[in-house]
Symmetry: C2
């Protein structure tokens, strides 16, 4: 197997809505910090270029950029300079003028994949068009990396698609709005990500944001999960920080969980898709 141990980071940072140049500075600083700490796969939050809570479509349209726009170009240059794989979210203005909640996977200065969120959350339905393409899975020097965005991860059908596509690591930019939960319980967003990892024996890195935005608070639940679905990084809910973990991605290629069981081969494809 051409995969082995790799340091993965999630940059849990604050963003400012509509502050394109400020967000570029914030994300670049965070990526450099993660790289300095040894990370070779670095994940930024959903809509890291713009912030999340657009007041209306006009504000979003003014912020959105083409895939070769300034935010993605700056991150792409950074991926080349640092020799790191970057995954980050941005508001994409498609060639057709439609706006998507997108993410890119960047390596060596190149856009290796662009993904458009397929499952839209709440007011996103009034702002963005949904994507129709499968989550991409990209062969990198560190292993095969899949990409999806936030609410996508709550659809096990979609996660399975990435696993069947061969992803060793699923990189998931998220903006998890904070909801009440029982005391001493882990946020349900993390619990669902844990299950998704273990049911597919696929590492998952969720990069959440922090910083109140237009009254919205966030879980701040960035977490890097191993193939058993357990956190490999420290979970520091709500804090601005870099979640960092060394992952053995070769373990994602072994789907066996007993002498005769394999989480993918045991699917009853005769009974469901």
């Amino acid at each position: 197997l051409l995969v082995s141990s790799v340091a993965v980071a999630c940059c849990q940072i604050p963003l400012r809505i509509g502050d394109a140049s400020g967000n570029r500075v914030r994300t670049e600083r965070a990526v450099r910090t993660a790289s300095d700490a040894g990370a070779r796969v670095i994940v930024l939050p959903e809509l890291a270029a713009t912030g999340y809570l657009f007041a209306n479509p006009a504000e979003l349209h003014a912020c959105a950029e083409a895939t070769d726009g300034p935010a993605v170009s700056a991150w792409a240059a950074l991926s080349a300079e640092l020799g790191a794989v970057l995954v980050a979210g941005f508001a994409e203005r498609g060639p057709d003028g439609r706006i998507y909640n997108s993410a890119v996977l960047l390596e060596g200065g190149e856009i290796r994949a662009r993904y458009r969120k397929a499952h839209l959350w709440d007011r996103e339905k009034a702002l963005f068009d949904p994507g129709d393409a499968d989550p991409p899975v990209v062969e990198t020097p560190h292993g095969r990396i899949g990409v999806m965005i936030c609410y996508d991860l709550e659809f096990p059908e979609w996660v399975r698609r990435a696993a069947l596509g061969g992803a060793d690591l699923l990189a998931v930019p998220v903006n998890w709005p904070r909801f009440p939960r029982p005391r001493r319980e882990r946020p349900a967003e993390i619990v669902r990500a844990q299950a998704a990892a273990s049911e597919n024996r696929m590492a998952i890195a969720c990069c959440d944001r922090t910083g109140r935005e237009r009254g919205q608070e966030w879980v701040g639940g960035s977490v890097i999960l191993d193939q058993d679905g357990y956190p490999a990084s420290a979970v520091r809910l709500g804090a601005a920080h870099t979640a960092l973990a060394e992952l053995d991605l070769s373990a994602s290629r072994d789907k066996r969980i007993s002498a005769t069981n394999d989480v993918l081969a045991d699917r009853r494809t005769d009974l469901y898709g």
Copy 2:
């Protein structure tokens, strides 16, 4: 809606392999205890009539019984006497002579549904035939109750089938073998069940067993989860006890999680089954 609050119990008990009459006494005693505590839906473990770790097919064949055999008949009588819905696992000898890892849902002395485990675990593959039918969903006075067994629950495709079939509560007899896990982490079996509940907004009651059997230890992780995927019952890992919770099953009929989001309606059925 014709569903409301109902007390649900999982009887986390020890069983003895091959001791049919002893297991009948153990399960009956546990069901009476749960009923005395107010439970109207009572779940017993997987293979509650026989125990789990059969040495070979001959031992299993000697223990297996038809759906109208003594264990199921005794439980059915109990369901009538106590006015409770019972879900319990047993080794079924089918009319064709094949052996299945099955569960029944009993109410008012009747077998309302019989389900055969579709995803077989480890040595079960050498002992049982797999079932081919969907998880049943049964209309009861307390709401619609779905049934599947243990490893089935780790296939989100299968859980979705039960949710789309209208289950308000998924009753899951399990025998969860104990594996190592990181300190302070919840067993992955419970984490996956939590995710299954919240991704479908469907309550789930997992009834595990306890008591070492032929060297095997069990998680003893019985848990009753609400529609948000959080435990509604006390989790007492490994202990013989009755997990008990009052569930508002009408909440399972409301799949909305925001003004515009619905966990079932948001599935991209144009992109996957």
